[in-house]
Amino acid sequence: MRTDGVHGRGAAASALPEEVFRRSEPDARSHDEEFGQERFLRPFAVTAGDPDAHAVLGPESSGLDMLSLVVAARVPGRHEWLRPERGAILGHALRARTVVELAAEVRLPVGQVRGIVAAMVADGSLQRCGPSRSLGRQDILHAVLVGLRSL
């Protein structure tokens, strides 16, 4: 039973399997047990000793979220064929790109691209960059409103 007073939603859903409500936990990661036999985890890879292996990183471990911006700090070099993903990422990052766009462009999972990008930032191939003008939240919201209206 739900005890948080969201009676309308709960009552309308009384015919639904219990499961639906268990899945309504805001942070399922701390409630894995409730999922029964299975749970989903962010994956990780151990890359000890292999500098070319790509760790699959989450936002916490990489310090990069999907919208973090990076830009190429060098042009793709002649050794890039050994690590084609890196070459592709550099090629797409000649202009500042978000991590998620790079993932879509090089057709690799976000977690993996995050790992590669983090490694490339560390070795100086990519640079993180912030926006040229940093706007306050209200300014952003107003700009977005005006922009959407004029679409």
């Binding site: 994956p43 060098r74 960059c129 040229s132 919201l141």
Partner: protein, 198 residues
């Protein structure tokens, strides 16, 4: 001294990237909405997950691992030189909560698409954003042949608070999607400036 570096530095302004989440149940029209307003063909990417299950066979309690991929699609709207808006459709399967966590982090707000054929499929999204304090609007996506609900009926069924806008929409219509997003941003601005809401 000129270095190779300077040639690859961007000359143009780098805009700030902001996002709005498009959530809702399986098949509610999330991808359709993103496609209707995006300036690019929605891009798709994946997240690979490790699925761990316990004690399902005679290895007794030994963790089994298989991987599952979740598709994530997103679109983009260039607002001006300083701001680019990304629209992220949440993964259809609602059990991938960690994706939701990351998507919701720092989002301007969310659109919950309510599918009139199965209103209950968006309950979890409503719960999620309410509990996270992420401002959202409910967009009622009408499908042919399904019950026609009035705004108040949807509001009652979903039990959202009075200040949460509930709007009728058609995810296939660009104008309609635009209105939903304008409604959301207006709602977010209003929420932060109660004095102006008079």
């Amino acid at each position: 001294m000129a270095s190779a570096d300077s040639e690859t530095r961007p000359q143009e302004a780098i805009p700030q990237a902001v996002k709005i989440i498009i959530a809702g149940g399986f098949g509610a029209g999330k991808t359709t909405l993103v496609a209707s307003v995006s300036e690019i063909t929605p891009l798709s990417t994946e997240e690979v997950m490790t699925e761990a299950s316990y004690g399902v066979d005679d290895t007794g309690g030994v963790e089994q691992k298989t991987t599952t991929t979740v598709a994530l699609d997103f679109g983009r709207i260039t607002i001006n030189d300083d701001v680019v808006l990304y629209l992220f459709g949440t993964p259809g399967q609602d059990r991938f909560w960690f994706m939701w966590d990351e998507l919701a982090e720092g989002a301007l707000g969310a659109v919950v698409l309510a599918d009139t054929r199965r209103l209950d499929t968006c309950f979890h999204a409503v719960d999620f954003f309410e509990r996270r304090g992420v401002p959202f609007v409910v967009a009622v996506n009408r499908f042919e042949g399904s019950t026609v609900y009035r705004e108040e009926e949807v509001r009652e069924a979903l039990d959202v608070s009075a200040e949460v806008p509930v709007v009728l929409a058609d995810a296939r219509e660009r104008e309609s999607c635009k209105e939903v997003l304008v409604e959301l941003v207006t709602h977010v601005i209003r929420g932060r400036n109660p004095v102006m809401s008079g």
